[in-house]
């Protein structure tokens, strides 16, 4: 079971929750279960989100595993210059 922190506009579409608990072994599974629970998250995920696992940020790699007890944050996808 991973505790997933939510920030920014992602919170609004998870009924305002700052964090939620989800059983997920990979980023792909995490995002799928997130949409199952909060369908409005689909648009964010389609636009692109980043997932931080123990401080390392993954933007595209959905196969990355989520170790038990790791710190997970879902972040909006950022742009740079």
């Amino acid at each position: 079971m991973a505790e997933v922190g939510l920030s920014g506009s992602l919170r609004d579409d998870a009924d305002g929750a700052a964090s939620i608990q989800i059983e997920a072994a990979t980023i792909r599974e995490l995002l799928r279960k997130l949409v199952e629970r909060y369908p409005r998250m689909q648009s964010h995920i389609a636009e692109g989100v980043a997932v931080s696992i123990d401080g390392k940020i993954f933007r595209d790699n959905r196969e990355e595993s989520i170790p038990e007890g790791s710190e997970v944050f879902l972040l909006p996808r950022i742009q740079g210059g």
Binding site: G5, S7, G8, S9, R11, D12, E47, A50, S52, D54, G55, K56, I57, F58, R59, D60, N61, E64, E71, F73, L75, P76, I78, Q79, G80, G81
Partner: protein, 749 residues
């Protein structure tokens, strides 16, 4: 195949040296080909008609007279660009920005385009196009745009169940700020404004588009991301990706402004209409009015601290304008605002707000400089209030490994503390100041990111290397990639020729943004080189008729291991390459990777200024940049990035500003009236590179291209405040604003 991307702390022989840049001769001799340097037989010249109004309904466009003008081959309006976006609002916004549909949303918004046999004819044709506008109320100020009675820019946008210009609200933070403020001995609250600035790249947007009757197209364009341009243009025009080849020209500056499509779909659509090449180059006026500047902002900051210097709570409310299309610039301001500090109670709330100004684009660490101006100015005020040295105050509260960032994740090894310690020790801090002079310092943060990357490394039979990358070289990445390939292969730097491929020649590469070029293409180059080394070891093993397990790569040669192979002399890369035809054919390495794990970046800047109390004019007399690079591959380029960001930040801090009239029109769309710093305005900018390795890159690389623009607004502001004796809270701190502040203070006695 996944590779281990962990930092290995290997010893380098070539990385960190400063060889000549491979593109240098081309650039100083004029041989380098930029966006406007391409031509094709039979090409037409295109020009775009732009709205003179900030906000207007387009009732009718009559192009009949323009179409009849001799030499005009095509006229285009939004009717020629049907909506093929299939509900993708982001793409529809791009389409609408390229060519207004039922409304012009800002001064400079494209409303029609012409392709003609020459520029004069195209310009004459534009004058013959009659647009019937109904002028609508407009709003260009971010604070006014948030008011309930503000003109609505996009009726589809709603906030609190009502039409609104507030497109998005984002909150970040943790802890309990109310409780934190209750524990504070000192609380400072302050409001700030920053004006809109442009990246100011010297090369305007330019492209040459060719679409044939078979539907196949080519686009030569100045861009930071030719794959992204291909994907967007093909999508908007209903083309297949494989049938649109996009080639990136040399780039005359981008800084984020060339990550967005502005006019290229128009050039392609015109070309498709007449089946002739179409060249389209923006004038400087168009670059200012119709390509994306950064946001203007309005920010409130509140910091509470104990007398011992511990910050107990910090909060910020940020209002960023996005132009007429929703974006994430305010959100990025909120995410970056407190990233330098280790805070138990912190909160940022950002509003992304629509106004009748051009679509906002990224500008080097987008959104972070404005937030840093507000935060770092207030940090100085709090330090002064509790009687603590501002550097010591920052050191006491600096984020470190294990700090939970204000935007969520916990940091690994980071460089904010070391940059501050370097500030403390730097001779600049001990230099004497003269009359009317002041010194300020400030910190800055940027995330950096990696992304999708693809690289080829082909070994010629003479042992020279064609290294092919897909990330556009905006800041010296061809030199850095050549150094990395030379390091891995164990051969001289000048044996490698690095090229940026067109979109038909290599797999997808994300845009060069987010300081990702050296991080991600560097990673792909390392693994492509190792892939080639594996092949070369196999070839040597074949020649020697031994097991490949007994072959290793060392100093540019295959070496046979073990006592029984001790009679075999090492086989050099050149020798292996020369025999490649008889050992299995061409030798190449390849890698495709999603480069994750980009290390965050921090910088601390020191600035000395002299303010003329009679005129309010400010001269920067000394400037030092200290930044963590993770690992500097080519230190000249790293220092160049540090200096370039600082120079742009100084211009932003002191002079650069979009000035809008009451009519909503931009008043200063030229370099005469939009005052960017030139060499004579700036001192030599000193640099100090720190190297705190990124644990998630084999060489420890962090991006370096953006962070250096984050601290200057605040560093200059803190210096001006010391020199002039007044706290400046409005950027740019131009002579009239400084003089006004001085006079107001004098009037108060």
């Amino acid at each position: 195949m996944a590779h281990d991307t962990s930092f290995t702390n290997q010893e380098f022989k070539i990385i960190g040296t400063r060889p000549e840049r491979p593109d240098g001769v081309d650039k100083v001799t004029g041989r380098a080909r930029y966006g406007a340097d391409a031509s094709a037989p039979g090409q037409l010249i295109a020009r775009i008609l732009r709205s003179p109004h900030a906000h207007a309904t387009i009732r009718k466009i009559d192009t009949s007279k323009a179409e009849k003008l001799k030499g005009v081959k095509a006229v285009l309006t939004s009717k020629d660009l049907p909506d093929l976006t299939n509900g993708n609002q982001g793409n529809f916004d791009i389409l609408e920005n390229c060519m207004a549909r039922d409304r012009a949303l800002y001064d400079g918004h494209a409303v029609a385009a012409v392709a003609a046999i020459d520029e004069d004819t195209a310009k004459k044709a534009l004058k013959l196009i009659k647009v019937d506008y109904k002028i609508l109320p407009h709003v260009t100020d971010v604070d006014l745009a948030m008011q309930d009675d503000a003109p609505i820019v996009q009726p589809r946008i709603r906030h609190n169940d009502a039409p609104s210009n507030i497109a998005q609200v984002s909150e970040f933070g943790h802890g309990d700020v109310d409780e934190g403020f209750e524990k504070a001995d000192v609380i400072i609250e302050k409001s700030y404004k920053t004006e809109q600035t442009h990246q100011g790249y010297i090369e305007p947007h330019a492209c040459l588009a060719t679409v044939g009757p078979d539907g196949q197209g080519e686009l030569w364009v100045t861009t930071q991301g030719h794959y992204t341009f291909r994907n967007i243009c093909a999508s908007l025009l209903g083309m297949e990706l494989a049938k649109l080849k996009v080639t990136s020209s040399e780039i005359g500056g981008g800084f984020g402004g060339k990550t967005h499509v502005w006019m290229e779909p128009v050039a392609l659509a015109l070309s498709r209409k007449v089946n002739r090449p179409v060249k389209l180059v923006m004038s400087r006026n168009e670059v200012f009015r119709a390509s994306g500047p950064t946001c203007s902002t309005s920010v409130d900051v509140k910091i509470g601290a104990k007398k011992n210097g511990t910050i107990t709570a910090a909060s910020a409310t940020l209002r960023y304008q996005d132009g007429p299309f929703p974006a994430i610039w305010g959100m990025l301001g909120a995410m970056t605002s407190w990233a330098c500090y280790d805070l138990k109670n912190v909160k940022s709330k950002a509003y992304d707000v629509l106004v009748n100004r051009p679509k906002v684009a990224a500008y080097r660490a987008p959104s972070a400089p404005m937030a840093a101006f507000a935060v770092e100015s207030t940090i100085d005020l709090v330090a002064a209030e509790i009687g603590m040295d501002p550097v010591e105050f920052r050191i006491k509260n600096a984020a470190k490994k294990g700090t939970r960032a204000s935007y969520g994740p916990t940091y690994g090894p980071i460089g904010i503390g070391p940059t501050l310690q370097a500030v403390k020790k730097h001779p600049h801090m001990r230099a004497k100041l003269g009359p009317n002079q002041g010194r300020g310092m400030a910190c800055g943060f940027w995330f950096n990111f990696g992304g999708q990357t693809c690289t080829d490394l082909n070994i010629g039979v003479d042992g020279t290397i064609n290294l092919t990358i897909g990330t556009v070289d905006v800041g010296g990445s061809r030199a850095s990639m050549s150094l990395i390939a030379a390091e891995e292969l164990g051969i001289p730097y000048d044996q490698i020729k690095c090229n940026v491929a067109d979109t038909s020649s290599l797999g997808h590469n994300d845009t060069t943004e987010g300081s990702r070029g050296t991080f991600s293409s560097g990673m792909a180059t390392i693994f492509a080189a190792r892939d080639a080394i594996k092949v070369m070891c196999e070839r040597a093993a074949k020649e020697w008729e031994i097991d490949v397990k007994d072959v290793e790569w060392k100093d540019g040669s295959a070496v046979a291991k073990g006592v029984r192979n001790s009679n075999l002399a090492p086989m050099t890369l050149k020798e292996i390459a020369a025999k490649s035809g008889a050992t299995g054919g061409p030798i190449a390495g390849h890698n495709e990777v999603v480069a994750d794990g980009a290390g965050v970046s921090f910088a601390s800047h020191i600035c000395d200024v002299e303010v003329d109390p009679e005129t309010g004019g400010t001269k920067v007399i000394r400037y030092t940049v200290i930044q963590d690079a993770g690992k500097a591959i080519h230190p000249d380029y790293v220092e160049g990035q540090f200096q370039g960001g600082a120079a742009q930040g100084i211009g932003w801090a002191l002079n650069e500003e979009y000035v809008y009239g009451e009519d909503g029109r931009l008043q200063n769309p030229s370099f005469l009236d939009y005052r960017m710093p030139v060499c004579s305005d700036l001192p030599s900018i000193d640099t100090e590179i720190l190297e705190i390795p990124n644990p998630d890159h084999p060489y420890g690389i962090r991006g370096v291209g953006e962070t250096s623009i984050v601290p200057p607004l605040a560093a200059v502001g803190n210096a001006v405040s010391m020199a002039a004796g007044v706290r400046m809270n409005h950027v740019p701190m131009s002579p009239p604003r400084i003089l006004k502040a001085i006079k107001e203070k004098q009037a108060q006695g």
